[in-house]
Symmetry: C2
Subunit: 449 residues, 2 copies
């Protein structure tokens, strides 16, 4: 099957593990099946992220599935680091709602991946917490679209309670696959109960269709020739949802019921419900703790005593200690935190801020084997590298030299520099200057041997 | 007056702010009076430690008071850093109970400080949380001993409830100063109530006496000539409390009542009661938090939401999140944490561990102006210094050189090295080796210019 995973925004509601540059779908907190390959970082050994879990589940159900992730530029490095190079990525140049994102991904499948206009694709969020049966249902949905059952085939989740959080789909019959009668916006609980009594299903945000169908609608709404043209024009497009642009205008829609487990992990409360263990990382709890979950990304222990219904999360960005229910109100508090980014995954590896002073900053840089930083210089700071592990080569103002642990490289402001990792390579970088800023960076092309 | 402050053990019960090498009396969490001098570190600006608070209070009551601190070697640096050089320090070569400590401090006063045998001294714990009136009472106690009111003059705290945590003193009358009839060990609550009904007072652990009195008793129990001799023999002495060695054998004891505020800050629960503000450091709390206290020594924010009766404490050593009552059971959990020391105050400044890897460790070193490290070498590790702030001089294998921010010094194993700070000086030290250990250190004498 062809599947497009919509990998959305920054997810501040899971701070401090997610923030402006690190999204919730990349946090490694789910225990991997026993036969999986170990992970790289200390705390996450044996754990996988939402996106890794979903990708693994898709490949379990259909090892030939073609997976494309529709996302923003900021997530590309994390996706490659976590999923490798086999996954397709449709990069949105800027944030526009779900219709432009799905149109762009569909054009990408046709023009870049060579998927035929008569072939089906199923579009699904990247972060459902589900079992493999969900992706078996996704495959069935794809087959229904492929067979031309309807122009659009949706997934309807069997409701377990009258939720106010979801839209409802009312089918024309109680069959496993039925035509859709009508859609309902998020209701209050009493109305939700009426919908359920009338056979209503939760709208799971999953759409299956043939490429030609969405591309036709896209050409009606946008003046573009092909993927490349749409990519260039992306920032001129209106923010418009797929529901509003497509679903509301379509009469021929089918819905397939899904009655398995399905969770939406948007808040600490729902996320911790999905954790198989109460703690990830170095966490000690006394016997008086009840319903406490803790995730510790720091190198020092967390000790929790006598707490009830609390989530604790510590990362290089900060420390959250919250009553689980209260944690759903986190967003304005996180918005008010105006802080230096302390950890980031990059295309070439990752960095972590170790120390910040007025006229200096010390960071730890980890380069993945075979990768390198951009060749760059800074105008307003000097830098000192001390290699602490691994082997590689530095290029400093055009001069290439091998480096090993203990080697020190000093770079005055203006000096062009990069490091190329042969094995995984770690270094301590001390930045010195009165005006240290991420924007003080000039990139150069590099001709390597 | 002469006052000896007994500065005791490590106080693991206030982990992660106190640990094996950092004692609770040095944690800066009390808001200083408005006209005080600002402190050096970011989180503690405007805050003072228990020992600073007590020292300031003593000097407020009697600006000519001679203050001596009886303590172990491990606290000397912290005392000098926090109180400066005016305070006397009687260093216990090893831990022996209160009688050897008080005998040594008394010999120190006589033989080192030149205090006369007929002069009185008052001995008091370093960590009572009190107002100035307590030290006014201490001064009165000293005057009573000086006037020969009794061989021993104690402070009796007016009990506010039938506590099981304290010993009781039963006086012969209800006078402000009375002879002691009898002492009672820590009772159960019902017995405590009986003592209170009979006019009993809490034993505040404060003793005033003339130097000759304790030295005479010391010579009866220990074979020594003077302070220097006692210091050398200290490790051969039995562990014996002052109560057991002195108080129990003395008939002529007076007690003076004290009815002011008096708190013993041994646990997170009692410590947070004494905090004037609910948070120290970068802490954000939502309105749903009730009776929550947080102390944050880390450079990143803590966000607390919807918690009740909880203490949060984050330091380079770890993170505690505990129900306040439950926090009194912390000790076995902290004993089980076998961890690298992440922060330490030294005679010359402080260091903080920034990063630990298998074959390297990165630390940040802060030297106080005019101070230097020991001149030393390591056998099994190389080191790299990058100066990030301040001015000073390095001495590397005998060669002296000025250093400024951005200067890099590389030291192979075996190389003798030190750095002398002219201003406050900070550097990042990267240690490289397969067997990094604090015990890998050889010290040398240094002849500086």
């Amino acid at each position: 099957m062809n599947i497009v995973l919509l990998s959305g925004g920054s997810g501040k509601r899971l701070w401090p593990l997610s923030n402006d540059i690190r999204s919730k779908q990349f946090i490694k907190i789910f225990r991997k099946p026993e036969n999986s390959v170990p992970m790289e970082t200390e705390y996450s050994r044996g754990y996988e992220s939402m996106v890794q879990r979903v990708y693994r589940q898709i490949k379990t159900v259909d090892k030939n599935a073609t997976v494309t992730i529709a996302t923003s530029k900021s997530q590309v490095s994390a996706i490659h680091n976590q999923l490798g190079g086999d996954v397709g990525i449709s990069v949105e140049p800027c944030r526009r709602d779900t219709f432009p994102a799905i149109a762009l991904a569909t054009a990408y499948l046709h023009d870049v991946q060579g998927v035929g206009l008569d072939e089906a694709v199923v579009v699904c969020p990247v972060d459902p917490y589900v079992h493999d049966d969900y992706f078996a249902a996704i495959q069935k949905l794809w087959e229904l679209a492929q067979a031309g059952t309807a122009n659009l085939v949706l997934m309807g989740i069997d409701p377990t309670y009258p939720s106010e959080k979801y839209g409802y789909i009312l089918p024309t019959s109680t069959d496993a696959v039925a035509k859709v009668d009508t859609f309902k916006e998020k209701p209050d609980a009493a109305t939700a109960q009426k919908y359920i009594d009338a056979g209503g299903l939760w709208n799971g945000g999953v759409f299956a269709y043939k490429l030609s169908y969405v591309l036709k609608r896209a050409h009606e709404l946008i003046d573009f020739t092909d993927y490349a043209d749409l990519f260039v024009k992306y920032d001129t497009m209106n923010k418009i949802s797929f529901d509003y642009a497509v679903v509301e205008h379509e009469k021929d829609i089918a819905v397939m019921r899904f009655a398995g487990d399905w969770k939406d992990l948007g808040t600490w409360n729902t996320l911790t419900e999905a954790m198989e263990e109460s703690a990830v990382g170095d966490v000690r709890m006394d016997a008086a703790c009840e319903n406490v979950h803790a995730i510790n990304e720091m190198g020092v222990p967390i000790l929790a005593m006598g707490l009830k219904n609390v989530v604790i999360s510590a990362s290089p960005e900060g420390i959250l200690v919250s009553d689980k229910n209260q944690s759903s109100y986190i967003k304005p508090y996180v918005d008010a935190i105006d802080q230096q980014i302390m950890f980031a995954e990059k295309s070439w590896g990752s960095f972590r801020v170790l120390d910040v002073e007025e006229d200096s900053m010390t960071i730890k840089v980890t380069l993945n084997p075979g990768h390198r930083m951009n060749y760059h210089s800074h105008e307003r700071r000097d830098e000192v590298w001390t290699v602490i592990s691994g082997r590689g080569r530095t290029i400093i103002d055009g001069m290439e030299q091998p480096v090993k642990p203990g080697d020190v490289v000093t770079m005055a402001a203006g000096c062009k520099h990069t490091v190329i990792a042969e094995t995984e390579l770690q270094l301590i970088e001390v930045q010195l200057g009165t005006d240290i800023s991420v924007s003080d960076k000039k990139k150069y092309e590099l001709k390597t041997t």
